[in-house]
Amino acid sequence: MLFDLLGVTPQALFSQLLLGLINGSFYAMLSLGLAIIFGLLNIINFTHGAQYMLGAFGSWMLLHYTGLNYWYALFLVPIAVGFTGVILERLLISRLYHLDHLYGLLLTFGLALIIQGLLRNEYGISGKPYAIPEQLRGGQNLGFMFLPNYRAWVIAVSIVVCFGTWYMIERTRLGAYLRAATENPTLVNAFGINVPLMITATYGFGVALAALAGVLAAPIYSVHPNMGADLIIVVFAVVVIGGMGSILGAILTGFGLGLVEGLTRVFYPEASAVVIFVIMAIVLLVKPAGLFGRTV
């Protein structure tokens, strides 16, 4: 009855919700990294999209140049890209902490353009094919839709990684140090904890999360230098809606907005690219700190 009213079949609705959840997995992982970095470093990391792209490109390069497959990429690429993040933080970003947000934003945005431009110059824009690993091919017939095994894998990895990260930050001693350093770095430093090291490691970790999302994306989206630029704006909207710097907010909003976007694709596909921004505008009007953010 309800479905007649909506003009879609339950099958269509369920399948679109599930697809929304898959897209939400990417939003959640990317916005989580951004939220962690913003929380501790106060840097709006515009290089995040490029680092996600490096994750995907890294997987392709690993396969193409060394023959190492997806399962190696899943571990090696986030570590390698995370390490470049560490170098970046030490060399450049760390010089900007005493300045306004805007400088960090400009630096990271500029770096993103440089990284994308270099890869575009070398590999072109059309993208590189990256096959789904043998073990995850095929799919399950769920009755209402055919769910490719790989997409199910993406949801699973994303949920584990997101909630693992949340647990580490909210429930462990290391996480407590991190949160304390976010509140008052000087005081935490005075207790003998190496705050600059922690900041560097956090940035590296956030970047590694982006790269991991990139590795997961490589087999389903074509691997091309602009793939992150297309996504990062949406992810920023997700972070703003969730509340800047809120870990749980970033995760839940990521999945939630994936669902909302999925529904829009059924009822009014033309609006699916803007729906997140409409929600962002409404949230900013009603609750400027974001859904899960604390008012400062």
Partner: protein, 400 residues
């Protein structure tokens, strides 16, 4: 009538002037296209290289024509394309604008060149409106258009039994035109269009649209999109087992760079329409080899080939009339038969449509291919007379 007389008179005068003195003619060509976005490999720097090759092959310098080439990135945005075009024409003295992919951007440029009376050689854009309701006395649409794609791929799919269609359409001028022209072919040949979903441009995740197409039960899913959008649609269709479940995909606009990006595993069996393939004959192979050496090793797309041929023809016309005067040169371009190594002989019609053969290709399987870029098997040559929309059907005001 009066216009024709004036044009002829100008051409005559210009011709006399050229005969009287061998003063150097200078021409400025502006290559306007996507240099950083999803169409950058199909157009981009490759079109600049093709332009330079045409100038070199024509021997412009030896023939007393000094040619300057400028290029810009329109980012697939009509507003940027308009701004650059105005700047080029009004301030920098550009005589001819070349390429311009992205139909919405090309239509914007088309309006400006009509008003400013400068020549526009379209290779990249697809919409058949450029030689239809939006046709202009200063525009030549060289390589392909949405009608010819529909007529090639669309007709071929219906003929093998694909008589019910569902479209995945890029939500802008190009997608709409391609969907409209293909729907017309499908319905004309007795087929039926069951539904359409219009996706944001550019898109990334097409799975939900593909599932809607699957739910429609149509035999053919028509992809009225291009570049990276098509690549992602085809990849994700393979992932969701859509082709295995019995539906066919019709890539209505697929370029060789897209096939390269997809890999033959995902692309094999696709039927597509192109105006050019590097491996057609000795001339196209020689051109493509040089093109690849000058660029980053990629084979040229049909858009690059069209840029080369249209610039070559333009320069011949400039030499023939002895000036870069738009009216005289355009009259000469339409009067002279076109003849170049890539498209052979052809003509430019009153409505600006360049007419030549089109080809229906099938993408080879990995076993059939001998290596990178060996991708197409020729199924059918669509003769020039029937490859493009009949001139009287286009509603071009210049024709009435």
């Amino acid at each position: 009538m009066r216009k024709t007389t004036t044009t002829a008179a100008i051409a005559l005068l210009a011709g006399l002037a050229a005969g009287a003195a061998t003063a150097e003619i200078s021409v400025k060509i502006g290559v306007l296209n996507d240099r950083s976005g999803l169409y950058a490999d199909l157009t981009g720097e490759g079109s600049v290289i093709a332009t330079r090759m045409a100038i070199e092959d024509f021997g412009a310098a030896e023939r007393g024509i000094s040619v300057e080439v400028v290029s810009a990135d329109h980012q697939n945005r009509p507003d940027v394309a308009s701004t650059v075009t105005r700047q080029w024409i009004d301030v920098d003295g550009v005589d001819v604008i070349v390429d311009v992919p992205t139909s919405s951007a090309a239509l914007a440029v088309n309006d400006i060149v009509r008003e400013r009376q400068k020549i526009f050689l379209v290779s990249g854009a697809a919409t058949s409106d450029l030689t239809g309701p939006a046709c202009s006395p200063y525009t030549v649409h060289w390589t392909y258009d949405t009608w010819s794609l529909a007529n090639g791929t669309g007709r071929a799919m219906v003929e093998v039994g694909g008589d019910t269609w569902f479209f995945l359409t890029a939500d802008y001028a190009f997608g709409h035109a391609l969907e409209r022209d293909t729907s017309a072919v499908v319905e004309e040949t007795g087929g039926q269009v069951l539904g359409v979903v219009r996706h944001p441009f550019p898109g990334q995740d097409f799975s939900s649209f593909l599932l809607q197409a699957q739910a429609s039960g149509a035999k053919v899913i028509g992809l009225a999109n291009a570049g990276g959008d098509t690549v992602n649609s085809i990849m994700q269709a393979a992932e969701f087992g859509i082709v295995q479940a019995g539906q066919s995909l019709a890539g209505l606009l697929v370029f060789i760079t897209d096939v390269d990006a997809l890999g033959l595993d995902d692309a094999q069996g696709l039927v597509l329409t192109e105006a050019f393939y590097w491996d057609l004959n000795d001339d196209t192979r020689a051109f493509s080899q040089r093109f690849a050496e000058l660029g980053n090793g990629n084979m040229p797309t049909m858009i690059h080939a069209g840029v080369y041929a249209s610039v070559l023809h333009y320069l011949k016309a400039v030499e023939a009339v002895g000036s870069a005067d738009s009216d005289a040169v355009m009259a000469m371009m339409k009067e002279m038969e076109t003849d170049d190594p890539l498209f052979g002989q052809g003509v430019i019609r009153t409505d600006g449509r360049k007419v030549h053969d089109m080809y229906l290709f099938r993408v080879k399987s990995p076993d059939e291919s001998t290596g990178r870029w060996d991708y197409y098997e020729l199924l059918n040559t669509i003769p020039a007379e029937v490859a493009f929309r009949p001139i009287e059907d286009g509603n071009c005001p210049l024709v009435q």
